[in-house]
Structures are given as C-alpha cells and as structure tokens.
C-alpha cells in the first residue's frame, strides 16, 4: 500500500468537504483496502464514512424500504422486517463475501464501487431502487454506468437506497469457484411495474437488465417459461473462468433458480 492520509468524518457534510481531488471515501473497505494493498488503487486521502450515524440503519414502512448506505451486509442479511417484505435482498446480502467481510462491507460501498461481479447492483436494478446521495436522488437505471463506473460525481456520497418491495423476488448466484464473486447472478422481481430481471457478474459492461428474460417471464412468471429461452452471449464477459456462452447458460440456470425462489 502506498502512503495515504486518513480522515474520520463525523457527518456527511464533513465527509463531502474532505472527499476532494484524489481522496476516496472509505466505507467497509472490503474492496478498496485490498486494491490499495496490491497498489492497484492509490488514493491520496481516505475519508472514513463508517462513523457517520446518519448513514446507518434500515427502515421498513409497509412495502417501502430504505437502507442507509453505511448498513453492513450482515445487518441487511439478518434484518427480520426486511426479510418479511423482501427476502431476496436479505438472502443476497448473506451471500456476499464471507461472514467477516459481511461484518464490514456496506451496501453504499458496494454500489458506489459497482464491481461488475458484485451482487447488490443486480438487486438495485431489478428492484428499481432509488440511490440517494448528499446531492440528489438517482434511479438505479441511471446510477450504474459500466465497469466500476457510476453516476457519482466528486464529493458525492451515497447516503441511502430505497425501493418498494415487489410482490415476488428472488436471487440466485453462481460464484466464481476461486474468488466467490458472482460469475453470474440473477435477480428477478415481479411488482407493480411488471417483471424486472437484472444480471450481474456476466455483462462485459457491468450489471444489466435482460430483456429476453423479462419478456419471457412477463408472459408467465414460472420456471417452465424459461425452458428453451436463450440469451445472447455477444455482450457477456469472456475470461479463463467462464466463456461468454457458458455465462449465457448460467444466466438461464440462475434465472430459473431465482424464479423458483421467488415463487416459493
């Protein structure tokens, strides 16, 4: 790790002031610290957000859910009220990393980083979530911009995410055998606005919605509907762990599991 200056922010506004230039915001640090250790990331300053109380907590009002950006994966995974209205997201949170990682990693950090193999972006997109920052609210659709790219501007901090829990939702992940990140993860949601299917870990430009799967599942939200459905592989990632055609097959396999879970 290169030398770095650490700042502990007490409030979002203080953090925003500190987060200028080559500074980076540090939440759980489960991706940023390893990247810094291998010298792939070299911020001049780190602004620690984890002591900001206003970023923490989960509120569930009816079907409306707001999760503070500083809420850990462990807190999401074990929140009983959240599990009642949207079990797929608590299930998803329980699949991120390992128990020690879940104790530190946060939802805000995960989506701000937008790793193409991260789990949360798929949930945000499929749930039609709104990402709230210290400056504005951004629909998930416009928030995720490709590999490690988001709509966030300098000094902009994710403060919370919110969504209306759909009638049905499910998530299935096929982890990379080595890293255990999603090699393909599919989040399906059936709500008032219809069926939304988001895929992570597979797209060569990050998380995306699968129009083919949405069309099929809109006809009938059932596992059988997916028999014989194909998704194109031309814009899928191709690496030594999984070729694009294999990932295309995994998308169908995971979609089936996600639908089965949503329908259970």
């Amino acid at each position: 790790m290169y030398a770095v200056n650490y700042h502990r922010a007490k409030s979002v506004s203080e953090a925003a002031k500190l987060g200028k230039g080559d500074a980076k915001f540090l939440s759980g640090g489960m991706t940023l610290i390893p990247a810094m250790k291998t010298r792939l990331a070299a911020p001049s300053d780190l602004v620690d957000l984890t002591h900001i109380q206003e970023l923490k907590g989960i509120t569930v009002t009816g079907k409306n859910v707001t999760i503070g950006a500083g809420t850990t994966h462990y807190e999401v995974a074990t929140d009983q009220r959240l599990a009642k209205v949207c079990p797929a997201i608590t299930y998803l949170a329980g699949l991120i990393g390992d128990p020690a990682v879940r104790h530190r990693g946060t939802i805000g950090g995960s989506i701000a980083n937008n790793d193409p193999a991260a789990d949360y972006p798929a949930a945000m997109l499929a749930l039609g979530a709104t990402i709230t920052t210290n400056k504005r609210s951004i629909p998930a659709e416009k928030f995720f911009k490709g590999l490690f790219e988001t709509a966030l501007k300098e000094g902009e901090i994710v403060t919370s995410v919110s969504f209306t829990a759909p009638a049905k939702c499910g998530y299935a992940k096929f982890p990379n055998p080595a890293s255990r990140y999603a090699m393909t993860g599919v989040f399906v949601a059936k709500g008032k606005e219809g069926v939304r299917v988001a895929v992570t870990g597979a797209g060569d430009d990050g998380v995306f919605r699968s129009r083919e799967l949405e069309a099929a599942l809109s006809r009938s939200f059932a596992v059988d509907t997916l028999e014989g459905v194909r998704v194109p592989s031309d814009s899928l990632m191709d690496d030594m762990h999984a070729s694009s055609d294999y990932r295309a097959a995994l998308i169908i396999a995971m979609a089936k599991r996600a639908v089965a879970q949503a329908s259970a």
């Binding site: 790790m1 290169y2 030398a3 291998t38 096929f174 055998p177 080595a178 890293s179 030594m240 762990h241 999984a242 070729s243 294999y246 097959a249 995994l250 169908i252 396999a253 089936k256």
Partner: protein, 783 residues
C-alpha cells in the same frame, strides 16, 4: 498399548501453542536492528537485463541497501543446483542451466529475482523496489513443455539444446512393444496432469542475521529440512562453512514439498545480512508465493495399456513430457523419473513396462516435488487408463483391477521397485463396502429424479515411501543419503528429550514420536520432549518429505531407544543386583521380572548421572545416538472411491461421498494418521476439481497468481470423508510402518475424475474439472 503409547489417539502436545496464538513461525521472529527486504522481480517471462540502476531506490526514505546479482556473484555466491543426477538414455548427464540467486544478465520467468531492497519497514522497501530501474530487452517466451520441445521454440539455457534437460527411459522397450503387438485390446490415452501451486498457508520467509564478531550466520527459515538447507548453502552456495551457519526452521506452517528446496531468497538474505550489516527479514506475499514457490505436477503423457484376451494387463507403454519451469529446482530431476516411472506398475502384475520421460525447460516457475511428487502422476496415468479400459472392455472397473492385482509378496516389478507386503483386495473390498458400491445404481436413479447426474469412480494407488535407502538412491543419482538420525537424551531426573532430524510442519511429530518413548519406558508423555528444526541442537538430519518421518525418522528413534534401554537395564541390574537379562521395564520402573524388586525410571536416570554406583567401566550419563538407513522403500497402498453429483445446468460437481481404505502398515496415532489422509484427499480433490496454475502462453504471465483466480479447496467444496485401514505391517522397519503423508493426494485425484466421467458419459475431461469444463463436456455428449 497404554493410554499414551503406540496405537492411542493422543491429543497433540504441540496444539496448545497453536490454539492460543503462541506458535513461533519465522515471521514472528524479531532480532534487534532487523530490517525488511523486498525483492525486485522480473515482470517478464523471458528477457535480457540490459541495465540495473539502483540510485533512485537507494535515495528513498528508510532504505538501507539495494543489492544486485553482480555484487552477489562478485562475492562468490554460487548458483543454485539440482541435487539428483539423471542421465539420458544416450548416457549424457542432465543439462543443468545456470541459476543465479539474483539474475545477472537474463530473466527466465515472471518473478525471477533481480535485486533485493532492504529498508526500515516493508512498506518502504516496497516503495523503493518500485523505483529500481531495470532495463529489459524482452525475448519470446514459452510456457508449455510440449511447445518448448518444438523446433524454433524460444531457447532458455545455452546448456540445454531444444530446452531438453534429459531424455530418460526405464523398463524393457522391446518386451513392451512385443506385448502391445500381441495384445487383444489396447487402451490408449492422452493424459494431462495439471500444474499446481502448493500453497502452504504460511508463506515462505527467511530472517538472516550475520554476527560480525563471530563471523557467524543464523538463518530462520520456512524449511522442511533445515540441515539440508545448511548443507547445500554451505557446500554449494558458498554462504558460509557449516560451523558458521546455523539454520533454524521453527514452527513451519505447512510444506507439502514446497519447503524442501533451498530457494534464492534465503541465500540472498544471508549474504545481504553481511553485506548490508543488518539482520534481514523477508516474508513472501501470497502472490510472490504463487510466482516463485516451486510448482507441482505439469505432465503430458501418452499411455498405452495392453490386455490379453482374458483382460490381463500384459504391457504398459508410457511417454511423458515433464515441465521443469525455468530452472532445475533442488530435487526436480527425481520427480518424473524415480518417483514416477518406478510406480507405473501400480497394484498390478504387469510383465512388461516401458516409460520414456523428457524433462523440459519453459519460462515458468521451477517445478519440483509437491505432495506425492511423481506418484500422483503415475497413479493418475494408471487409474484413468484402467478405468477407461474397463469401460472399453465392458467389464466392471473393480473386477478388472482385482483380476490384475499383485497377490504374492515380495513382488519385483519391471520398474525397479520390489513391493514387500500388501493386500490390495482387502482395501478394495473395504472401500466398496463402505460406499455401498452395490447400491450405486439406485442412488443414481434417485439423483436423476432430482435432475442430477450421479457418478462413481475408484482409484487403487500404490506409492513408494519411507524415502529412502541411501545406497539405492545413490546408485540412481541422488546427491545425498536419505537416512535419518535421532538422539535420545535421558535427563538426570528421568525426563527425556528426543532430538530428531525429521521436521514437523503439521505432522504432529511432537506427539507421535513421544508416544514411542512412552510405550517403551512407561514414562508419562508430558515428560518427553521432541526437539527438531535447529542445526545447533540436532547434529544432522534429512528432514521431512516423502512420507519418511514415520518409517525412517521413527526407526532412527527406535534404534536410539534400543541403546538407551540396553544401558538403562545394565544400570538397573547393577542397582538391583540382578541379572541384566531379567530386567523388564513396566509402568515407569525397571523391574526384576517375576519379583517386586524394582528401581523407578527416574532413579535409574539419576544414578546414571550421579555415577556414584555404576557397573564397572560404564561411562556416566544416558544419551544415545542412532542413524537409521532403510533397506527398502515402503509401499502404502489403498483404494479410494468417490461419488459425485453433477448439475447439468451449470456443470458444477458436488462430491457426495468419498471413501478411503488405506494400508499404512502399523499406526502409532490413528487420529493423526486420519488427519493426514483428510488433508491429502483435499489436495487431490483440489487438483481434480479446482486448482490449476495457468500461464498466458504468449506473455508468460501467471494468470492464477492469487486466491482470486487460483481456486483453493474450501470447506464447502468438500464432504466429510470416510476413512478406514486394512494394514499389513511393513517387514522392512522395526515399527512396521509404511507412511501416510502423501496417500490422500496420490489416490484421490483419479477417483474424482473417474466419478465425473462416469456421471457425464464422456471421458474427454481435463483437470481441473471446473464447472465450465464439465458443462462444456456435457454439451458434446449425445451430439
């Protein structure tokens, strides 16, 4: 057996320190004034070094010294060697290319060490290492051994034309060809044994301290054999004469072969400690371990197995190309020859065998012994071929094996080895019963209802352990003897220290070895201490690898115990005024047999040291030394059966049952032996399903250089294992031990692949059988 003697499941004495965080590994050692080293390593797989400019690095904060290969050579530090001479079939000696601990004019793999930076902190050393300016001129690289042999391939060493290190053979070519000619059936296979990275959880490390006043070096290092490290560093690398070099291997966090070898880093740290005038500590990062630890396996083999009309194997022809990486590591040459081809008879009576092995340089990390070392490769070749043959011949894989088993001992194979004892059918029967082989079809049908493809596969392995009779290995080219030493010191109060040349890095020697003493003298196990891993304490030893610490290391202890017992009985007889031959040792006392006359063990020991009343002419003290040199290898064998379920949608394989039935000869501590089997199986399963070192063929970059890309077996990749033993005592050593350290890694891999190919209905599957590979194989089935 007593509660703490031979055969007892004694909880490990060494565990207390490990479970409380009090273990002492090399990185835990601190010497006053100690500085931290980082190596500058080649980012290229193959390049000429045009220039090294260290001036910017030297000016960085905290930097003590930046040293290069030129300085190292100027100080007379020698090149690294391979210590086992192999001659090609034309009689020429193997072609050993020069390997300088720090590269001088050329680098040959990504990670090749070029310079060492020493600074106050590791962070500072790393900062400075980044600004050492090495000007490289890149050369073309080759990473595959098959490609490296081809005309026009990049050439690595001027000493080795066409990158060929040796072209060696064993067995009777003419007899084997004749067998193939008259065969009723020949099974042919092309078999790739994937390259593995050992990945002991403790990364390699060295802390070298040069004492100027004494002109003496102390080197703490992660070694499986500190005495061999001292010998080689002294005799071949000119670090220091043996009396001026103390090597300590304290607690070592796993080895699996990778810590046998003497690597550039410990040599350079010792030299740099004198050169820079400070104690120097280096600890590998995990990625450094991936790049620079000796890798394992990496064979490509063509095999033909010939059967007569009764399905008896009549001949076996094997042609193997072994990838040695960029340099010949310390014991690399022996792995695909005497540790591989000599085991190609397996458990089978095969009248004619011929194997040809070519060893080849490539621009990859050096390859050497990794758990099993050659024997897993041999077992994989045989057991994949045997399984395939059974399918081709339309017979039961179990019965085809049984029909060809060796049943009479001793058995001389056509490839040097003489098996001394075994009962292969017993292990086969036990394994088949344990897994309920007969019930498989029913389980398969039930799995099919759940959409899963269920398969079963077996593997019947044999290995040569208890490495090794010195004269035998000497005649085959070994540069060292492979005996072991032991010293048993009975203290004046009767407590006992056993000094051993074996080295424990997870094997539990502190317990198992103590059990021997407890069994012999009836003293509590807590009064026995095992001392190892320090060249200042133990006179000499050959270390731990090749499942040798039981069969060879403990045999040396037994020999020393014999001498101690003889002297103790003499003293007791004298004290008790009895005849020496009437003295027996029971419950911690020396007794006159059949009487209640006795002298407690501690009193006898005290008498030995007070020396007030010893038999006439007897020297005071009670301390004996022994060297034990085995007369033959030992031959553990067994049968492993694996049952898998494959998800056809994703290609993911789940191991649903795994049975191991082993013959290890006599066992001292079954709990520890079972643990060795579990760990070995996990590594073998890792090779089959998960692990593979993968180099980019054009750039020579290691693409699997961290746990993000190299898949280590985790708890949820594995089932619990069913382990049993069908032991036939080894006639070759006093304890009847065969050895158990490598069996799991040797026997398990083919069983897994045989199970998967059985499940998916195609035999065309390379390791590791990742979900992607299995899925792809499934796409070809029925097409």
């Amino acid at each position: 057996m007593g509660m703490e003697g031979i055969g007892a499941r004694v909880a490990r004495k060494e565990d207390k320190r490990f479970i409380t965080g009090a273990g002492r590994y090399t990185d835990d050692m601190v010497v006053p004034g100690m500085k931290h080293a980082v190596f500058v390593r080649s980012p290229h797989a193959h390049a000429d070094i045009k220039k090294i400019d260290v001036s910017d690095a030297q000016a960085m904060p905290g930097v003590v010294a930046v040293l290069t290969g030129k300085q190292l050579k100027a100080d007379g530090i020698g090149n690294l060697i391979c210590g086992w001479m192999i001659h090609s079939k034309d009689g020429s000696p193997m072609k050993m290319g020069a390997w300088s601990p720090l590269a001088v004019d050329r680098v040959r793999y990504v990670g090749d060490a070029v310079a060492i930076v020493i600074a106050d902190t590791k962070g500072q050393a790393r900062d400075a290492a980044e600004v050492v300016n090495v000007v490289y001129k890149e050369r073309k690289a080759v990473t595959s051994a098959v490609e490296a042999l081809k005309k026009g391939a990049p050439q690595l060493h001027p000493e080795a034309e066409n990158n060929l290190i040796y072209d060696w053979e064993i067995g009777d070519a003419a007899a084997t060809d004749a067998a193939l000619k008259k065969a009723a059936h020949i099974t042919k296979m092309h078999i790739v044994n994937n390259r593995l990275v050992p990945n002991a959880m403790e990364p390699r490390a060295a802390l070298a301290h040069y004492d100027k006043a004494e002109d003496h070096y102390t080197c703490w290092t992660t070694s499986q054999n500190p005495h061999v490290a001292r010998l080689v560093m002294s005799a071949f690398y000119n670090v220091a004469p043996e009396n001026k070099l103390r090597v300590i291997a304290p607690d070592v966090g796993g080895g699996f072969g990778s810590k046998i070898f003497i690597y550039p880093e410990e040599v350079v740290c010792c030299w740099a400690s004198k050169k820079a005038g400070v104690p120097v500590k280096w600890v590998a990062d995990r990625t450094e371990s991936f790049l620079c630890d000796a890798h394992g396996r990496d064979h490509v083999t063509e095999v033909q197995m010939a059967f007569d009309k009764d399905n008896k194997v009549i001949g076996l022809k094997v042609d193997t190309i072994a990838n040695f990486g960029a340099y010949m590591s310390l014991f690399s040459s022996s792995v695909p020859t005497y540790l591989y081809a000599t085991l190609l008879s397996g458990q089978y009576n095969i009248p004619a065998i011929h194997a040809n092995v070519r060893a080849v340089y490539t621009n990859t990390a050096p390859v050497d012994a990794y758990r099993g070392a050659g024997r897993p490769e041999a077992t994989f070749v045989l057991e994949r071929t045997m399984e395939t043959a059974a399918h081709e011949l339309g017979v039961s894989p179990a019965e085809l094996r049984r029909k060809n088993f060796i049943t009479e001992f001793p058995h001389q194979t056509p490839v040097i080895m003489c098996y001394d004892a075994g009962n292969y059918a017993a292990s086969l029967d036990a394994a088949m019963a344990a897994i309920n082989y007969k019930g498989f079809e029913k389980r398969k049908a039930e799995a099919a209802k759940r959409g899963k493809l269920r398969g079963i596969g077996m593997s019947n392995y044999i290995e040569a352990c208890g490495i090794a009779p010195s004269a035998a290995v000497g005649s085959l080219g070994a540069g060292v003897g492979l005996w072991e030493s032991a010293e048993v010191r009975v203290n004046a109060v009767g407590t006992i220290e056993v000094l051993t040349g074996s080295h424990s890095h997870g094997q539990g020697h502190e317990t198992t070895f103590a059990q021997l003493v407890t069994e012999r003298f009836g003293v509590p196990i807590d009064s026995v201490s095992i001392v190892h891993g320090d060249t200042d304490k133990v006179q000499m030893g050959m270390g731990t690898y090749g499942s040798r610490s039981g069969a060879v290391g403990m045999s040396a202890i037994v020999k020393a115990l014999d001498k101690v017992e003889a002297k103790a009985k003499k003293i007791a007889a004298h004290l008790l005024e009895a005849d020496e031959s009437d003295i027996v040792i029971e419950n911690g006392a020396l007794k006159v047999a059949g009487t209640d006359k006795n002298v407690p063990w501690f009193q006898m020991a005290l008498a030995a040291y007070t020396a007030h009343n010893l038999p006439g002419g007897m020297e005071p003290g009670l301390k004996e030394t022994a060297f034990y040199d085995p007369t033959n290898f030992t031959f553990p064998a067994g049968c492993y059966i694996c049952e898998v379920e494959v998800d056809p949608d994703t290609g993911k394989t789940d191991i649903v049952a795994f049975v191991a039935a082993d013959d290890f000869g006599n066992i001292i501590n079954p709990m520890i032996v079972e643990g060795q089997v579990h760990g070995g199986i996990a590594q073998g399963v890792g090779q089959a399903l998960l692990e593979g070192a993968h180099y980019d063929p054009s750039s020579g970059q290691l693409l699997t250089a961290s746990y993000m890309d190299y898949c280590m077996p985790r708890a949820d990749d594995l089932p619990s294992f069913q382990v049993s033993h069908q032991n036939t005592p080894c006639p070759g050593n006093p304890l009847g031990i065969k050895g158990c350290g490598e069996a799991g890694a040797i026997g398990s891999t083919p069983a897994v692949i045989n199970a998967i190919t059985n499940a998916i209905g195609t035999n065309d599957l390379e390791m590791p059988a990742t979900p992607q590979r299995v899925w792809r194989a499934l796409q070809t089935v029925g097409k």
